[in-house]
């Protein structure tokens, strides 16, 4: 790979266990700037754990995480990573004690110490990018529908123009139409920022829409990776079973 395509984030041989349960058994993953990678895999295969390790929310027992070529291990380095990344959590994870605009403008208010008036203005501008009206700014997150909460969370993730955005199951719990709208917004906003994106999902429609490349996580390792166009003829029985949603195959259903 040539220098300009040096990965923005790279995971090398990452292991993570919870007590006796080994979740990640050597994940290797690299994403280039501007690239959108979707990680697919069954429930409980460690997709969320992978991105939580990448963000320093969990500490792997073994392996390395490099952000922009620098190891992200010290608290200072992890802080630097978080300044340059955004994260959309599965349930939105909006702060329910705060108004919508305060959620969106959180980093402006509490990290960059922007004045409240200016922060609110920028929050409303960012809400407009995810097609939410300014009238939503003063509501509480609990007053919004699931799809609107996801959009607020997306606005919060993009307001500081991150270079890398993580999406944790962005369409889970949404109806197909709302899910498609959220997918469109994600593609549009990631492109507009020129950011790299790592999305974890088991929603294949979402994966096809968002991904440049797809990687499949199974039993704590990346077992396949390829461009989204190769998804249907991957030549990998595990990927085939997952993509087509069959109970029969090499992967045992988690029931």
């Amino acid at each position: 790979m040539i220098a300009q395509n040096a990965p923005i984030i790279e995971l090398r041989n990452v292991h993570k266990a919870f007590g006796p349960k080994q979740v990640l058994r050597g994940v290797d993953l690299a994403v280039a700037p501007g690239q959108s990678l979707v990680i697919i895999g069954g429930s409980g295969t460690g997709k969320s754990v992978t991105i939580k390790c990448a963000l320093g929310l969990m500490t792997p027992e073994q392996g390395e995480i490099l952000f922009d070529g620098e190891p992200a291990t010290s608290p200072k380095a992890i802080n630097a990573v978080r300044r340059r990344t955004g994260m959309l959590f599965q349930g939105g994870a909006l702060f329910d004690s705060m108004a919508v605009w305060e959620n969106v403008a959180f980093v402006l208010l509490y990290r960059d110490h922007v004045s409240r008036a200016e922060a609110k203005q920028r929050a409303i501008e960012t809400l407009a990018k995810v097609r939410l009206p300014a009238s939503a700014a003063d509501l509480r997150p609990a007053e919004l529908s699931g799809g609107m909460q996801k959009r607020v969370a997306l606005a919060r993730a993009i307001i500081a123009s991150p270079e890398l955005i993580f999406f944790d199951e962005p369409t889970t719990g949404l109806d197909p139409i709302t899910a498609d709208a959220v997918n469109n917004l994600i593609v549009e906003q990631v492109k507009a920022l020129g950011a790299a994106a790592i999305t974890i999902t088991h929603d294949m429609a979402s994966a096809r829409k968002i991904a440049d490349e797809v990687a499949m996580l199974h039993e704590g390792r990346i077992i396949w990776r390829g461009p989204v166009s190769a998804l249907d003829n991957s030549g990998n029985a595990h990927v085939d079973q997952f993509v087509n949603g069959r109970a029969e195959g090499p992967i045992q259903p988690a029931i």
Binding site: G56, R82, A93, F95, V107, Y110, R111
Partner: protein, 276 residues
């Protein structure tokens, strides 16, 4: 290691014999580990409390929640305790013709002991559980993780405002409890025990020293710290959905109550020694 299989007793026998010791050992180590974790957590939060970046808006909100909204609970507790105390002392005092000491003992008991301890215990129920449930819900809905990814520090943004509010507001609540508690005693003494109202108050006022009140307020500040720290700690550690949040609230209340009673004894013995 390599010689172990030769000298070790039969494995079945070993497990049975060692089981109680293993259990005791595990419990003791677990207890110390918990103390260590609480200490480390408290140290982190207390450092955050004295770090200049204080979120004023959040602090004021917590003062309102912890202080102002606890007034009814604390007031009701104080008035009934003052009243019951007056009755008890009157009855006990009558055994050696000391009924006239009701105002003195009520004011002493309330300011030095019952005001801070009972306000502390009531707030352990109200505030500690509330904080643990709130922080716990934030933990299980990933709001704490979200805070971290947004470069916010939970100890500064969530915990320090609560602990500062607890340490500041509980003494104020206890001051109110002192006054209402004495009034509770006064109501019973004047209403049921034929005391002269103004004489009762004059007796109380001239008897109580600033040391009595100060010792109660110092206790209250310590209890306020315990209550809020335990709530934050248990909330922070909670996991596993609604059940985990419920468990965090329970553990916070129990932990805070026990620590309040234990530290009350320690503080009282220190005050006695230094003559406060």
């Amino acid at each position: 290691m390599t010689t172990a299989p030769v000298t070790a007793p039969a494995p079945e026998r070993e497990t049975v014999l060692l089981r109680p010791f293993r259990l005791i050992g595990r419990t003791v180590i677990g207890g110390f580990r918990e103390i260590g974790r609480i200490s480390a957590f408290s140290a982190r939060v207390l450092v955050a409390c004295v770090t200049p970046v204080i979120y004023v808006r959040e602090l004021l909100r917590q003062c309102l929640k912890i202080g102002y909204y606890s007034l009814p609970v604390v007031g009701l507790t104080a008035v009934f305790i003052g009243a019951a105390l007056a009755l008890n002392i009157y009855q006990g005092g009558s055994r050696f013709n000391a009924e006239q000491f009701v105002p003195n003992i009520v004011v002493l008991g309330i300011t030095r002991e019952l005001g801070p301890v009972l306000a502390g215990l009531m707030l352990a129920g109200r505030v500690s559980a509330g904080i643990a449930a709130e922080i716990g819900a934030m933990r299980v809905t990933e709001q704490i993780d979200a805070l971290l990814t947004l470069s916010g520090r939970p100890e500064r943004f969530l915990y320090a405002p609560r602990v500062i509010a607890g340490v500041v507001m509980l003494p104020l609540l206890v001051l109110v409890a002192d006054i209402i508690g004495v009034m509770g005693g006064w109501l019973v003494a004047v209403g049921a025990l034929d005391f002269n109202g103004s004489l009762y108050l004059r007796n109380s006022w001239s008897f109580v020293t600033s040391g009595d009140i100060q010792s109660g307020l110092i206790k209250a500040a310590v209890f306020g710290g315990i209550i809020t720290l335990m709530g934050c700690y248990q909330g922070d550690r909670s996991k596993g959905g609604a059940g985990g949040v419920g468990r965090a609230a329970t553990l916070a209340v129990v932990g805070a109550a026990v620590l309040i009673l234990a530290s009350n004894y320690v503080l009282t013995s220190i005050f006695v020694r230094i003559g406060l």
